[in-house]
């Protein structure tokens, strides 16, 4: 076995991963940083890079970072419910069981909400 770079770490806070950025899509505009009510996110010292998720344990999962991201539909930022928050459902006709975050998920349901993603009068 090759020599591995094993280090001492304090425990990771739980949950540790409330939002996931796609570095290839996110432009580092920091809109989510400005609008997060809990100040979970900090601007990245490197301009143009995704924010730093500095306080993941303070997230309360309102999803407003995602909703206010100009590129969320391209996958720049995703909300990630922790494992103990992943709800299950059953398909009525077949009796199949599914859940949020399952390894082999059914195809997505792409129907937008009534009135669209950004309903206006």
């Amino acid at each position: 076995m090759a020599k591995e770079d094993i280090r001492m770490f304090p425990n990771i806070v739980t949950p540790s991963n409330p939002v996931i950025f796609d570095e290839d899509v996110c432009t580092g505009c920091n809109n989510c940083v400005e609008l997060c009510v809990m100040d979970v996110l900090m601007p990245n010292p490197e301009k143009g890079k995704p924010p730093i998720v500095l306080y993941p344990d303070e997230c309360y999962y309102d999803g407003l970072c995602v909703k206010n991201c100009p590129l969320w539909q391209k996958g720049a930022i995703k909300l990630n419910h922790p494992l103990n928050q992943r709800v299950r459902w059953k398909r009525k006709a077949t009796g199949e069981h599914f859940r949020i975050g399952m390894p082999d998920p059914p195809p997505p349901n792409n129907r937008p909400p009534v009135g669209g993603w950004d309903a206006k009068a």
Binding site: Y61, A93, F98
Partner: protein, 652 residues
């Protein structure tokens, strides 16, 4: 070697310029504290009257507060032309439903002005009607206005709305009206004239939570629109993320704490109830259930057996449609009731055999009834219009649902036409022990101007006692803003007491000068433990006195040596100090009520008599020269609602 040192040596620099102690001062006619729903409407109400308005918010106004992520049903719209109830009737029904233990001033203002606020919100760009006719022919749709009702389809007092952008619209309207919006500043204290507790409110002090800069606000009148206190009995960032209650957990009772210390009079502060859900359950609105936004979804057990719906007399309802209609002989029902709904207004309900108020199950009863777990919300069996309104509209637009539930679940493959979402205890899941509680509606006492006992200080939204939800925040905010502006425009100049400001600066920056000390999380968790153990489900004088002793020791000890390493930690620590203040105030209020009360969920071991008539009164509480002063008020202290509203509303 302490790991902390290694982290310190390698941690990135704080991303914002740190300006601890640097001071800036802003003057205005009306200062609005808190930029949530009540705050925005207060700023709008005041700015329309021509006042110079400054609104200060700890987060960012565009998204902050419990209503920051949306609203899907708008309550108290009894002024809609199709509504079958008058504002007076609906107010009385709500008062009766809480057996009189409700804020009549707030309730009547909401009934009179809710529909008007909704129409204004539409002008600001929020969609409130089915203009595309997607729900044409649905029994909950009013064909004349294309508005859609929830709960009681006969009485029509609650409107379904596409409110996910409500906050964005309010933010833009505030900007349009010239409101000066100051984001990312936490208000840390109210400033009294002469620096004397109980004196006129002449402004507030605050701190920028990114930079640590000190802010002084000078105002002729001030509207307190901060939030309900959370993090008081239950604290955990670990169990489900930082979701201790329904609203954002930066709602640390700042408003209650600063008002209390300034000498404001509060009432109802002894109330608390068992917390259910957020801190130990599942994402709100994100499990199969039959209440609130999910009213009145069909629930089935694991074998597909339907759980019956019954009316107030226990009659089993045969159709889904009947769940949205009053019982025979009933004029209307209330969709969201009090602790034990009044028979006159009791709504149809899901009759889970043997389940109590907290949806606990009884194995014996279930065995007899042949029920198999888990339960599911049977969306596919619901009529198409109901399903589309529930999952497509309301779950799309309710607070904390568009992304966390609608988008996330759909992306994971959930399809409401085919899938049944699992239920957990038929609520949002997760039942805590009885000592895991939440504050239940204590708040500021006001007159019919929504003015507190302190000159120049007004209150709205969840700052009021027995608050309601979004529509209540909007209506009381707009009303308080109007009244505060009228006062400010006739008031003379004010002066800030420099000694009070200097003392506040000393207080708030002390934790950043320390290198070691307890951190905010351990402190908050400890404070909650004291509340659980000494102000829990069952109370007596000895417990409450011990709790207060605990808090005095913590304030002189752990809290006085707490440490914050950057402005963010300092904000959380100052919030936690407010949690302590809120806890002390709650314990003092609990000591003062020397009787048990079924309405308030209040159990005194040393005063076991339940609801003795002489205690069926509001208990008021305030600080005067540092001493706790209590008083009493009749439940209907608000007097003749119609007469008082007309005399004070400022619309005539």
């Amino acid at each position: 070697m302490h790991y902390e040192k290694l982290i310190y040596e390698h941690a990135p620099k704080w991303p914002y310029r740190v300006l601890y102690g640097q001071e800036t001062e802003v003057s205005c006619d009306v200062l609005v504290l808190g930029g949530g729903i009540a705050g925005c409407w207060a700023a709008i109400g005041a700015a329309r009257k021509g006042a110079r308005v400054v609104m200060v918010e700890k987060g960012a106004v565009k998204t902050s507060g419990a209503g920051g992520s949306g609203v899907d049903h708008w309550h108290c719209t009894v002024m809609h032309p199709a509504s079958k109830i008058t504002p007076e009737e609906y107010t009385q029904a709500n008062m009766d439903n809480f057996y009189g233990w409700r804020n009549g001033i707030m309730q009547y203002i909401a009934c009179k002005e809710s529909y008007d606020c909704l129409l204004e919100l539409e002008k600001m760009g929020v969609k409130i009607r089915d203009s595309e006719d997607e729900f044409k022919g649905a029994e909950f749709r009013d064909e004349a206005t294309k508005m859609m009702f929830a709960y009681d389809y006969t009485a029509k007092y609650c409107i379904r709305v596409w409110g996910t952008n409500a906050k964005t619209a309010l933010y833009k309207e505030c900007q349009r009206l010239g409101v000066i919006i100051i984001n990312h500043v936490m208000i840390t204290s109210l400033l009294n004239e002469g620096g004397v507790q109980g004196g006129r409110i002449v402004g507030a002090a605050g701190m920028d939570v990114h930079t640590g800069k000190f802010h002084v606000f000078k105002s002729k009148s001030t509207v307190l629109c901060l939030a309900q206190a959370r993090r008081t009995w239950v604290f955990s960032t670990e169990l489900t993320g930082f979701r201790v209650e329904a609203g954002p957990p930066n709602e640390s009772g700042d408003g209650h704490a600063i008002a209390w210390l300034a000498g404001a009079e509060l009432t109802g502060a002894e109330q608390s109830s068992q917390a259910n859900g957020a801190a130990f359950g599942y994402p709100q609105y994100g499990v199969g259930n039959a209440g609130n936004t999910w009213y009145a979804c069909t629930i089935v057990d694991a074998a597909g057996k339907e759980i019956p719906w019954i009316d107030r007399d226990g009659r089993v309802l045969k159709t889904v449609s009947e769940r949205y209609r009053p019982a025979p002989g009933q004029k209307y029902f209330l969709g969201m009731g009090g602790r034990k709904p009044h028979y006159d207004y009791a709504s149809p309900k899901l009759a889970v055999p043997g389940a109590d108020d907290f949806h606990r199950y009884d194995a014996g009863v279930f065995q007899k009834a042949g029920i198999t777990l888990p339960f599911y919300a049977d969306l596919p069996s619901m009529p198409e219009m109901e399903r589309k309104a529930l999952w497509g509209l309301m779950i799309g637009q309710e607070a904390r649902t568009l992304i966390p539930i609608y988008q996330t679940y759909n992306q994971a493959g959930f399809n409401p036409d085919e899938d049944m979402l699992q239920g957990y205890e038929c609520g949002w899941g997760g039942i805590g022990p009885p000592q895991w509680r939440q504050a239940r509606g204590g708040g500021l006492l006001t007159d019919w101007d929504l003015k507190t006992n302190l000159e120049g200080l007004y209150a709205a939204g969840t700052q009021l006692f027995s608050p309601g939800d979004h529509a209540y925040a909007a209506t009381t905010g707009r009303y308080a803003g109007r009244r505060a502006a009228a006062y400010a425009l006739g008031a003379g100049d004010v002066e800030i007491n420099s000694k009070q400001v200097a003392a506040e600066k000393n207080r708030i920056y002390a934790p950043v000068k320390r290198k070691h000390g307890i951190d905010w999380k351990e402190l908050n968790a400890g404070v909650c433990k004291v509340m659980q153990d000494y102000c829990g489900d069952i109370k007596n004088e000895e417990l409450l006195k011990l709790g207060l002793k605990w808090f005095e020791e913590i304030e002189a000890g752990e809290a006085a040596s707490a440490c914050a390493r950057n402005p963010h930690e300092l904000m959380r620590l100052l919030e936690t100090f407010n949690v302590i203040t809120f806890g002390k105030m709650t314990m003092e209020a609990c000591r003062a009520r020397k009787a048990s009360s079924s309405y308030l969920g209040f159990k005194r071991l040393d005063y076991p008599e339940v609801d003795p008539p002489e205690w069926n009164q509001w208990l008021t509480i305030k600080l005067d020269k540092g001493n706790v002063k209590t008083g009493r008020l009749p439940l209907d202290f608000y007097g003749d609602m119609v007469k008082n509203y007309n005399a004070h509303c400022g619309l005539r």
